[in-house]
């Protein structure tokens, strides 16, 4: 069976710890690996994907079992692990399972953070390099293209990449809902902890205008401020700064509240009611919970943000189920195409198509020529029959004759295209 010749061998964050993954260490372009892989005996097509969470080889081989051992050997060549261990840390999918796996990878259902969009770009890049090295053929070309369109379908038909699933990202998303663009906005970091740093990183990536750091020890504040091209101030300046900034991220180790409602209330007038987004990621809390009661002040503490994330995660899981439905549907479609990619079904399909046309045309003609005798009618039918058979003769011979150097798939794909047998809009 043709389907069984499609194989995926790989290592990802689920099957191997980072200690193993980093030993495989493929960096730079895929040209080297692709050449090595194509030299494996019986390997007809291949594509090589390497990201920080996964390394995968997608290939088509005439003798899949033998090729699999060789491919695994290649993957683990630098790790110093034997084939038994290598098997333990890697996965092998064949046929329909391989197609399912690839579709899931493309649609980001197999990612560490389900729904993150980078993987599709990485897969496209891997395919591009494989095409440049001419290591893909009829089957992988179609399979990869299909995987891209499946990913697109999943993205448009489900809400899988919809909402933030990390605390700092949830905070950024909220900030955008309040302020729209963050470009001309500023953030004040109070306390220079790791969480504050992470949140600031996200905000900077989203293009926040200005970063100000306030910390008990000014030295640490200066250090962090430098990282984000910002300014450092002492904690005493908190309220002065608060009259200006738009977002405040608080993460001090203080045991008591550092900002109370009646301290901020007069500031709001001074701020001309510009909204203020307060993010309290400290435990115990830094900011007075009652601050949220002030007009145009939005206070989120760590639990609020966690709730947002949990809701979003649950939502993603629900969407992932729907996405798997789409994947299953598409795998069946690909299976149908693959089945057609054999000699016998192709010949049957051509004959069927020709016969349908012949029957329809004969019926149409005979319905007009009502005066014909039985004999004359039979002649017309025979005429049509003869034309169809003679016309199909050469293509059939071309299909059945195979010289050893021919790639049967290319021939099949060509003939199927010529006769329009896979009449399904093919997206390139």
């Amino acid at each position: 069976m043709l389907a069984e010749s499609i194989v995926i061998i790989g290592v990802n964050h689920k099957t191997a710890p980072v200690a193993v993954r980093e030993k495989l260490a493929f960096s730079g372009d895929c040209a080297g690996p692709l050449v090595t892989l194509m030299n494996i005996e019986g390997c007809r097509e291949c594509c090589f994907l390497s990201t920080c969470n996964r390394v995968e080889v997608i290939f088509v081989a005439s003798d899949p079992a033998a090729a699999a051992v060789a491919v695994r050997g290649f993957l683990f060549a630098k790790s110093g692990l034997g084939d038994a261990e290598a098997q333990q840390f890697s996965y092998l999918y064949q046929g329909k399972d391989a197609v399912t796996h690839l579709y899931k990878v493309a649609a980001s259902l197999d990612s560490m953070v389900v729904g993150e969009p980078q993987i599709l770009g990485q897969l496209k890049q891997a395919y591009r390099e494989a095409v440049e090295q001419k290591t893909t053929g009829v089957i992988l070309n179609r399979l990869l293209h299909k995987s891209f369109s499946v990913a697109k379908r999943v993205r448009t038909e489900t809400n899988i990449g919809g909402s933030a699933v990390s605390i700092s990202y949830a905070a950024v998303e909220l900030a955008k809902k309040i302020f729209g663009s963050l470009r001309d906005k500023s953030v004040l970091l109070v306390g220079a902890g790791e969480m504050a740093e992470l949140a600031a990183e996200h905000l900077v990536r989203q293009g926040i205008g200005r970063v100000i750091v306030a910390n008990r020890t000014l030295e640490r504040a200066v250090k962090l401020a430098q990282r984000f091209n910002g300014t450092a101030v002492g904690l005493a300046e908190l309220t002065t700064q608060l009259a200006e900034v738009d977002i405040l991220v608080s993460s001090t180790g203080a045991t008591d509240l550092i900002l109370r409602k009646d301290e901020v209330k007069p500031l709001m007038r001074q701020r001309k009611n510009k909204p203020l987004f307060l993010i309290d990621i400290a435990v115990p809390r830094d900011l007075d919970p009652e601050l949220n009661d002030l007009d145009n002040v939005y206070l989120y503490d760590i639990d609020d943000l966690k709730n947002v994330v949990d809701v979003n995660k649950a939502e993603r899981e629900k969407e992932a189920l729907r996405a798997e439905g789409i994947v299953a549907e598409e795998v069946v479609k690909f299976g149908q195409w693959l089945e057609g990619m054999e000699l016998a079904p192709t010949i049957t399909a051509i004959r069927q198509k020709a016969n349908t046309i012949r029957e329809a045309e004969v019926a149409k003609t005979l319905s007009v020529l009502k005066s014909l005798s039985e004999n004359e009618r039979r002649s017309v039918e025979m005429l049509a029959n003869a034309i169809v058979n003679k016309l199909l003769h050469e293509p059939m011979v071309f299909l059945k004759n195979s010289t050893p150097h021919d790639n049967p798939q290319i021939k099949l794909a060509f003939v199927r295209q010529l006769f329009g047998l896979d009449n399904e809009s093919s997206e390139q």
Binding site: F179, G180, R271, D295, Y298
Partner: protein, 271 residues
């Protein structure tokens, strides 16, 4: 002519239904369909006014049916013109029901063409009436923006993210929309009052005679003037501005109907 009006009404209702469908499904194609329907409705509505103008022989802005229908017309075109330069996510689902509602009110008012009252025979009629009603159109958009702001703000404040959070634009965008509509609406309102006053001077010899409609227009004008002034000085923005846009629109509606039906006065032949 009645058929033309009915057709416009049905198109607006259909556009509303499709906008709601888009709001729930968030499919871009559905939105394009809704917008196209609304656009066709707006064009037919324009044709309807032209036909009515020809049939009546005077500017058709003198009955309640005509005034409310023109109100809906100006909302539609103000909204569609926004789409050209200034887009607000899911604005249509809030605007289209209000347009439809106005059209329903117009549909249930008398559609009869009455001869023009002698006092209204003036070139000021089309200028004054259309400016005043177009102001209403923009105030109605500001009202929709205000409602959207409060809905979105509520979800962010309460930390309960329901149907609106992901679908409505950011608070900032809604606040800008508010300001945008109020500024334009205020401009039209001012021009409407000024032209009305000039016309009054010509017709009755006095710029201002404290007719109830005039009084209430002035109250409405003062409310909007206060909103815009306070926004610039002490920062009546955001939530308060949204609430004020809703309050101001209440005053607009009272000026339109409340005055006519409850208080009477020289404008009462309108309606």
């Amino acid at each position: 002519m009645t058929l033309l009006f009915q057709l416009t009404l049905y198109l607006y209702l259909l556009a509303t239904a499709v906008y709601v469908a888009h709001f729930l499904s968030q499919q871009k194609k559905v939105r394009a369909v809704a917008r196209a329907i609304l656009l066709v409705g707006g064009v037919l509505h324009t044709v309807y006014f032209v036909v009515r103008y020809v049939a009546a022989g005077h500017t058709p802005l003198t009955s309640n049916h005509e005034a409310v229908s023109f109100f809906a017309w100006s909302m539609t075109w103000a909204f569609l013109s926004f789409w050209w330069r200034y887009r607000v996510k899911n604005f249509g689902v809030f605007v289209s029901p209000l347009i439809s509602l106005l059209m329903l009110i117009a549909a249930f008012s008398s559609q009869e063409i009455r001869p023009l009252a002698p006092a209204l025979k003036s070139n000021w009629l089309p200028v004054h009436a259309s400016l005043a009603i177009m102001a209403n159109g923009f105030m109605a958009l500001a009202f929709c923006g205000g409602v959207m702001y409060l809905l979105q703000e509520r979800e962010i404040k309460k930390k309960k993210f329901g149907i609106f959070y992901s679908r409505l634009p950011s608070l900032e965008a809604l606040d800008t929309l508010n300001q945008h509509c109020l500024t334009l609406g205020f401009l039209f309102l001012t021009l409407g009052i000024v032209t009305g006053s000039v016309w009054a001077k010509q017709a009755w010899g006095a710029y201002w005679q404290w007719d109830p409609k005039e009084t209430w227009s002035l109250i409405t004008w003062l409310i909007y003037a206060a909103i815009l002034h306070q926004r610039l000085t002490v920062g009546w923005r955001r939530r308060r501005a949204a609430i004020m846009a809703i309050v101001g629109f209440g005053s607009v509606l009272f000026t339109l109907w409340g005055v006519t039906y409850l208080l009477g006065g020289v404008h009462s032949y309108v309606g």
